[in-house]
């Protein structure tokens, strides 16, 4: 039993990894793909193709729209049919490039073979360029552009690269499957990132409920010529939360509003590591990822782990897997703790898609809200050490200063509070709002301080000139 885990709070939902035994299957291409321009954190990508253009698989179809942004590539070969707004998961309009699929003819220079390439390029800048050119983003949820994260600002030094294989969300098994089936590629990907970061300590953290993955990783690490550790972690949600994982592995706490690099940490998901491998060693852009079809109202024989191409409508994948099951009351993209309810099943998959999860009404229905009985369970569960019952009260009172003093802005929206509340108080719903208010106040203050500093500087300059 591993005792390694984060120190504050956390909950233990049933892990329900029902689809753990389902090997990854490749989904066939649909007739049409809809490629979102907002698949990553930051500015949306700008399309560089026009309607009627012929595109090949892996061809760049959109360029980064800012410093924090990413390239997007065509997931198949065919013709650009339209460029325009289309509804995403939540029903919001987002720019998409529609591609009429004609085949799967790849661009030149991509190594499509299965051969493992273990030789890592020497040039750090060239590696980063490749990662950027292949549109790699973090696949653990935040979809932050990977080349930015791997290139810490001057003055900060990476002391530890943590590969997140915790997969602490119940139900999800896509990370588990790639750790079993693409083990060595993930290790090479980790070694590449380790090199980019200057050879820091590198740890692959895996929760104990995946012993096969731990064994496979240990074996792969032993067989490959890199200096990488495999660290079994205790099963506890949210182990995969960035700040929690850093604390579990390094015993350091990222301060409020701080980035992991402030304590010398860089965290990357195992799926990202695989994407890095494919980008750097195979020159293959990020147009595929693994997704789990699972749920408690879906018989296990109908559950799958699929290798999908970005742009496939969720409805296409659901249909292919046999349709939305009888008894599904809620459809979720992501895990049951932090995933998002699917309002629009026609939405297209994106780089960070990880699942279609069907939950039965019984398991997902929220109970009737009643009075807070001050049991303190929400505070015990909160991995950030917040007091959700208090934040809830302060939010209702609209007391922004007190919200900030009680660290509403530190909430990571993990859902542990509401999950644990016997009175079914919509804690996270309200704390999320409260967090927005507190962050707003902090930003407004920072902006005002900056403006004041600039005004003072301008005045000083003027005086100097006189």
């Amino acid at each position: 039993m591993s005792k390694i885990t984060f120190a504050i709070g956390g909950v233990h939902p049933d892990d329900a990894k029902l689809s753990r035994g389902c090997a990854i299957e490749v989904l066939p291409l649909p007739q049409t793909l809809y490629v979102s321009m907002a698949q990553h954190l930051g500015a949306p990508a700008k399309p560089i193709v026009a309607v009627g253009d012929k595109v090949k698989t892996g061809q760049v179809i959109a360029e980064p729209g800012g410093f924090i942004s990413a390239f997007v590539h065509s997931p198949a070969s065919g013709t650009v049919k339209s460029i325009g707004p289309r509804k995403d998961l939540a029903g919001n309009n987002v720019m998409h490039v529609e591609i009429a699929v004609e085949g799967d003819e790849w661009v030149e220079g991509v190594d499509l073979s299965d051969t493992l390439v273990t030789e890592i390029p020497e040039d750090r800048a060239a590696i980063l360029d490749k990662i950027k050119a292949c549109g790699v983003v973090g696949l653990g949820g935040a979809t932050f552009p990977t080349h930015v994260k791997l290139n810490p600002a001057p003055g900060s030094k990476a002391e530890c690269l943590i590969l997140n294989g915790a997969e602490c969300e119940p139900y999800l098994t896509s990370d588990f499957r790639i750790m079993l089936e693409r083990t060595k590629e993930i290790v090479v990907g980790a070694a590449i990132m380790q090199k980019v970061l200057g050879g820091c300590r590198t740890v692959i953290g895996i929760e104990e409920n995946k012993p096969e993955a731990i064994a496979a990783m240990k074996k792969a690490v032993g067989e490959l010529p890199y200096d990488i550790e495999v660290l079994p972690l205790k099963k506890k949600y949210p182990q995969g939360g960035e700040k929690q994982l850093i604390q579990a592995v390094m015993h350091r706490e990222v301060g409020s509003g701080g980035l992991p690099i402030s304590v010398g940490a860089v965290v990357q998901n195992v799926a990202t590591s695989l994407a890095v491998y494919e980008a750097v060693q195979k020159n293959k852009p990020l147009i595929t990822n693994t997704l789990t079809i699972t749920g408690n109202c879906l018989p296990v024989e109908k559950q799958h782990n699929y290798l999908f191409r970005i742009g496939m409508p969720l409805s296409y994948i659901a249909e292919y897997a046999g349709g939305v099951p009888e008894g599904a009351a809620k459809l979720i993209s992501g895990g049951p703790m932090m995933g998002r309810a699917i309002a629009n099943l026609d939405a297209a998959t994106v780089k960070g898609s990880s699942s279609i999860l069907y939950l039965s009404e019984e398991s997902t229905k929220r109970g009737q809200e009643s009075f807070c009985i001050r049991c303190g369970r929400c505070a015990d569960a909160c991995p950030m050490g917040l007091e959700p019952f208090l934040l809830n009260r302060l939010y209702k009172a609209g007391d922004v200063a007190a919200l900030e003093a009680n660290a509403a802005q530190d909430c990571i929206e993990c859902g542990c509070c509401l999950y644990s509340c016997p009175a079914y108080i919509p804690l996270l719903d309200n704390v999320r709002q409260a967090k927005g208010m507190a962050l707003g106040a902090i930003r407004a203050r920072a902006a005002a301080a900056k403006a004041a500093a600039e005004a003072a500087k301008a005045a000083a300059d003027k005086n100097n000139k006189n």
Binding site: G255, S363, I373, R374, L386, E387, A407, D410, C416
Partner: protein, 319 residues
């Protein structure tokens, strides 16, 4: 077909107010059953009447006065009813029980807005009110006929009441570790230390409560009684005597741990427990009542908002 669209989390732990209260009810059962065995039908009547009064009062108040949906479904009124009954002597007339229920539910709980809003523990408020208003009924410890004979029962009085009569030295001799297993007399909830502790352990195992409040009360009582007893055994009863007599165990295990009226944080709970332990010993040694548990808890209930302001959870990434 429309599917539910709502924010995360999409699942919930198998916990609800009702389930927690049900666990408290289950935990109180061993002690209640022991009291039935020793005190017989009259105790059963008190228990049934107390629970019924509390539930009906809460129901009537929410329905006719507050005009809100009834909250009796959360079972907390049953818990209050049980605790109130267990705090009364077995000879208590039913109309006195009813007044206790009115004070507990109508005054202590519902005027503050119902569960979660009250400052004082309802059952204790009811008991203290009765103790002050009807001292004769509340200190009548004649033992009614039970289903099993009361060979061990200390004839018709609580041990605490014996201290002024027998003196601390003699009273101390009446209590030893075997007391745990015996009928120690007193109100229904004070008879069997073992049954109460079994219920407390059940609550711990079910993770309904944490042990810190109870343990800090016990520890404080042991230390304070130990010091005084060492200083002057003729005047001050010892730790074991004080831990096993009166409402100590019932209060420390079931009343002081009431969620609503105890602090939220672990360290806050420790401070609260130490406060209760200290106050109860001061009342027992120097006060005019032989028993001080209810007063001590009520007093510390008042300090809870203050304690909650001072003691917070340790926040991640902040010193």
């Amino acid at each position: 077909m429309a599917y539910i669209v709502s924010p995360n989390p999409h699942i919930h732990a198998a916990v609800s107010t009702k389930k927690l209260m049900l666990d408290v009810i289950i935990a109180l059962c061993p002690a209640a059953i022991v009291s039935f065995l020793f005190y017989g039908l009259s105790e059963i009547a008190i228990m049934a009447f107390s629970i019924a009064s509390c539930v009906v009062l809460e129901w009537a108040i929410t329905k006719y006065l507050l005009k809100k949906p009834s909250t009796t479904g959360d079972l907390s009124a049953i818990v209050t009813g049980m605790l109130l009954a267990m705090n009364l002597p077995p000879t208590c007339p039913l109309w006195v029980v009813f007044i206790g229920a009115v004070v507990a539910i109508a005054v202590a709980k519902m005027t503050f807005g119902g569960i979660g809003q009250n400052i004082f523990n309802p059952a204790i408020t009811g008991r203290v009110f009765l103790l002050v208003s009807f001292p004769t009924f509340m200190t009548d410890w004649t033992v009614p006929a039970g289903f099993i004979s009361n060979v061990d029962a200390f004839s018709g009085a609580t041990l605490l009441g014996q201290v002024p009569i027998l003196g601390a030295l003699e009273a101390d001799k009446l209590v030893n570790l075997q007391t745990l297993f015996r009928n120690i007399g007193g109100s229904a909830g004070e008879i069997s230390a073992l049954a109460l502790l079994a219920g407390w352990v059940y609550l711990l195992v079910r993770k309904v409560i944490k042990p810190w409040i109870t343990l800090s009360i016990f520890a404080t009582v042991a230390v304070v009684a130990g010091i005084f007893h060492l200083a002057d055994p003729a005047q001050f009863t010892g730790p074991l005597f004080n831990l096993l007599t009166g409402g100590m165990i019932l209060g420390a295990c079931f009343m002081a741990t009431d969620y609503v009226t105890s602090p939220m944080s672990t360290w806050g709970g420790v401070v609260y427990g130490v406060g209760i332990g200290f106050i109860v010993m001061m009342i027992r040694y120097f006060g005019s009542y032989p028993e001080g548990m209810s007063f001590a808890i009520l007093f510390m209930n008042m300090a809870v908002p203050l304690i909650n302001m001072k003691f917070h959870q340790r926040k991640f990434g902040r010193k």
